[in-house]
């Protein structure tokens, strides 16, 4: 029983820390959402795609991640950069990251260097340098072209498939 209580605290702590930081700086907050597309039938019996929160996902299914940055401060936020490591056990779905209003780059070396997807190279097992595959990407980065005004929120999105 004691163990369960300690575990509960450990899970809650990061949330408190994040809130505390947001209050002191009073600025940009990021909110991550994970969803899956499910087929539902509409009134005419036609199949439609609907997004539902991803709580439990089987292997092979793509998860849609939406990252929403909101400026809760009183001043514009400059040089806004959203970075997301592709989670372990997941592969980036090629071409799925949105790029409107942002410079989109990727990393294939654990976040050390970033480049547009078509310029990203990796060294294969045979020692030969080649273009990186979508499944080899480790990070995605969005550099917002414009400052985020007070009260403004912008979202970016990508998909990754459970291995």
């Amino acid at each position: 029983m004691k163990k369960a209580v300690i575990l509960g605290l450990a899970l809650l702590l990061p949330t408190w820390t994040a809130r505390a930081v947001a209050e002191t700086t009073g600025a940009v907050e990021i909110h991550a959402i994970a969803e899956v597309e499910v087929k539902v039938k509409d009134a005419d019996g036609k199949e439609q795609l609907k997004r539902e929160p991803a709580k439990k996902v089987p292997p092979g299914v793509a998860v849609i991640y939406t990252l929403r940055a909101e400026n809760k401060g009183a001043k514009p936020a400059d040089d806004v950069v959203v970075t997301d490591p592709i989670p372990e056990h997941m592969d980036y779905v090629d071409g799925s990251a949105t790029s409107a209003g942002a410079r989109l780059t990727f990393s294939a070396d654990g976040g050390k260097t970033f480049a547009p997807k078509e310029k990203l190279q990796v060294r294969g097992k045979d020692g030969v340098t080649r273009d990186a595959n979508a499944s080899e990407l480790t990070h995605i980065r969005w550099q917002f072209e414009k400052p985020l005004a007070p009260g403004e929120a912008r979202a970016v999105e990508f998909r990754a498939r459970v291995e």
Binding site: A34, V57, P58, D84, E163
Partner: protein, 313 residues
Amino acid sequence: MFLLTAQNAWAVGTPAGTTVANTATVGWSVGPGTFSQSGTIQFVVDELVDVVVTLQSVSPVAVTSPDTNRQLAFLVTNTGNGTESFSLLLDPALAGDQFDPTNARLYLDTNGSTVYEPGVDPLYQPGVNDPAIAADGARMVFALCDIPVSRPNGDLGNASLRATSQTGTGAGTIVIGGGMGGGDAVIGAGAGMSVSLGGYLVSDLAVSIVKSAVVADLGGGSTPAPGSTISYTLQVTVGGTGNVANLVITDALPPFTSYVASSLFLNGAPLSDAVDADAGDFGGTTPNQVTVTLGSVAGGSLPRTVRFAVTIN
């Protein structure tokens, strides 16, 4: 229902019950100050249920009529991502064949061997010892059947093994909370079950080899003495109905003899001594031995003739 794609056929996936967390970070600046903030979202990986049954025996198995305890080996592979128990069903009463194998029983392999071991591998009893197989693991299952009396040559009797997931069936079905590690169980593209078919063929196939030798001595006679050459002829005959699979003829050289280079012939055509594209070799497959691979040979077909020569040391 989740959108199951073809990629769901992956044998190895993320283990069921794994928590996948995604943490995004936002960085920004206000004046000279730089700041960052992160947010995390997570989900649990569901169990994907799939199974594949494959026949491991050469099928059909050649049997006589009557016959007892003839074996078909099947491999049940858990292609899902969680440990899963399977119900097994051996069905000998199938349509499309000439007879039904009788006394059909299943035995579960216990030690990774490829043949049934009496007294070691237990009898399968549905609901009692249903095999639990780990993700990407496999279990060998032996089907043993008897063959009824008075079946003519060429009669076929089939038996199938079906493995069914105990969590559920039906592609795309979601069993809430039924997954290993706290997630749901999602029945995969294979519908949580798999069937494989094996057969027994009544056959009186028999392989016979007649070996003859002709001695030629150095003086033009037929005395076996040092320096004499012995030409051997092996006549291979397959009798009965059906096909003998993977027929390989081997013959070790007698003591105190040496193989005569390039003396190997099959049905009058020369075979090189090396292991290569042709059917035979000397010493390559097995040292000091002639090996000729005849492959699949039909019962009642013309005899095959293998010839080679040695000299007496």
